[in-house]
Amino acid sequence: MTTFPVEKIRADFPILKEKIRNKPLVYLDNAATCQKPQAVIDSISHLYMHEYANVHRGVHTLSVKATDRYEGAREKVKNFINAKSTKEIIFVKGTTEAINLIAQTFAKANIKKGDEILITAMEHHSNIVPWQMFCEETGAVLKVAPINLHGELIYDEFEKLISDKTKLVSVVHMSNALGTINPVKKIIAAAKAKDIPVLLDGAQAIPHMSVDVQALDCDFYAFSGHKLYAPSGIGVLYGKQALLEAMPPYQGGGDMIRKVTFEETEYNALPYKFEAGTPSIADVVGLGAAIDYLSEIGMDNIAAYEAELLDYATEKAKHIEGLRIIGDAKEKGAILSFVLDKIHPHDIGTMLDSLGIAIRAGHHCAMPVMDFFEVPATARASFAMYNTKEEIDVLMNGIEQLIEVFG
C-alpha cells in the first residue's frame, strides 16, 4: 500500500487549523460527528449561490438543476453502498429517523402482539427506544442478545434467541461506545435461514469501512451523513425494493403522493413515497460531495490507515497505569473507550480540552453498555482518517499529565 496521504487530507479540512484554548485542535470526537472537508462546504455554498430551487416541482431551469444535483447525490449513495437501484435509497434526517421509520411502517405492518424483535446489548439508544415504544404500543416483545466482557456479542446466545416468533433482527454494525464490529454476515445468514428481515444500524460503520448492502444481504441499512464527513440533518435508509414497496408510507404530505382528492390519495413511487415535504436539499448535495471525496481516497485505504491508528493508540494506552480500556473486541473500529482509576471521565474531558484535545466523556447514548461494565461513563477517543499518530501522542501525554495532577 502506498503511504496514506494524511497531510493532504488534513489540508482539506479547514477546521483542523483552528486553535482551541491557544493550542492546535486535536479532534478525537469523530464517533459523535466528523468534521467537513472544503469540498463538502463548497458544494453547499455553490448550490445556494448558483443552483438552488425546490426539487421535483418546477419546470424552470433552477428547479431542474437542483433536482439533478439532488437525484445525482442519490445515485452516488446507491453506488457507494452498492444498492441495486436508487429506488432503494430513502433520504431521512439521520440514522435515528431511519430506524423510527422502520418501526412506524415496516414493523407496524408486520409485527404483532407476542412477536419478537431481537437487538443486542450494545445498541445505541436509537436502536433501543423506538422498539420499546413500538412494543409498548403493540404488545410485541423486545429481546436483547448479551455481550461479553470484551464488548463482543455472545453469538451463540444471539442465535438461541432467534425463534419462530422473531419478526425482525435489528443490530448495530459497529458499536459507538465500544468500537466492536459485529459479525453481521453471520447474523444475517442466521436470520435469513428463518426468513427474518435484518436492519443494520450503520451509523458508526459507514465512515470506517466499505459497505456493500448486496454482499451483506441485509434488508435495511441505516446511516447518518454527519458521521460520514457530510452535513448534519441528513441520513439514508437503504431498503430492499420489494420490502419498501410493500410498506405503508411514513409521513404524509407533498412529494410522497401521485394523486390527491378528498376521497382518496394515491402514493408516489419509490423512493418518494417515503420523502414527504421539501427535503434537506443542500445537505443531500453535501452528502454526495462527501461520497465523491471519500471514493477518491478509497474506503479500504481509510480502513487500513485507521486500523493502524487504533493499534498505535491501544498499545500506548495499555502502558498507562490506571487506564482501563472498555471494549477490546477482536473485530474493532477506530474507537478507544477508557476509564481512569479514580478520575471521572468528565474531569478527563475538561482537562484534555484545556490542551486542545476534543474527546467525548459520558454514556455515549448507550446507558445499558455503561451498566454492563459498571461504570457511570467512559472517556472516548474516536479516530478519523485525518488523525495522526502525533495527535495520539498528544492525547496520551495529556492523559499521563492529568493522572499526575489528580494523583
Partner: protein, 150 residues
C-alpha cells in the same frame, strides 16, 4: 501544563475529591434524597438529620466527577447547623455564583464555596457543581425522593 484550569480545579477541590467529607450512609436520617445527572450518569444520595428546622447533620454517598464530589462534600460541611431558610439562601447564592453574573455574587457570604466559582466559565460543567444543591433543595422541600438536573 493545566494552567488554564487553575480557576476550575483549585487545590481545595482536589482535596475534597480525594478525601470527601461526610461520605457515609446515615442510618437514622430524617431526609434521604437521590440526585441524578442524566447528562453524565452521576448519582448521589444525600442524607439529612433535622432538629426542627435546623440541619444537625448531613452526609452523602455516590460517585461523580471531582467538581460534583467536591461540591457535595463542601455543602455537607457548610449546611450543618444551618436552618432550612439559611440553607435555601446559600443555595440561591451558590446558584447565582455558578450561573449568574459576577457582580451579583457576594463571595464572602458563601465562604469556602467560592472555590467553585470557576465553573461559571465552563457551561458544560455547571450542573456538576449544582447537582448537590438541587438535591438539598429537594430534600428541604421534602417534595421527592429522587431529583434530576434535567
Amino acid at each position: 501544563m493545566f494552567d488554564d484550569l487553575r480557576d476550575l480545579y483549585q487545590e481545595v477541590i482536589f482535596d475534597h475529591n480525594r478525601n470527601p467529607r461526610n461520605f457515609r450512609v446515615m442510618d437514622d436520617a430524617d431526609r434521604q434524597v437521590e440526585g441524578f445527572n442524566p447528562l453524565c450518569g452521576d448519582r448521589l444520595t444525600l442524607f439529612l438529620k433535622m432538629d426542627g428546622d435546623v440541619i444537625t447533620d448531613a452526609s452523602f454517598q455516590g460517585s461523580g466527577c471531582a467538581i460534583s464530589t467536591a461540591s457535595v462534600s463542601l455543602m455537607t460541611e457548610i449546611v450543618k447547623g444551618k436552618t432550612e431558610a439559611e440553607a435555601e439562601t446559600l443555595f440561591t447564592q451558590f446558584h447565582e455564583m455558578t450561573t449568574g453574573k459576577e457582580e451579583d455574587v457576594n463571595l464572602e457570604a458563601i465562604g469556602k464555596l467560592a472555590v467553585l466559582a470557576g465553573v461559571r466559565e465552563y457551561p458544560a460543567r455547571v450542573k456538576c457543581a449544582t447537582l448537590a444543591w438541587h438535591t438539598l433543595d429537594a430534600a428541604l422541600k421534602n417534595e421527592a425522593n429522587s431529583i434530576s438536573t434535567e
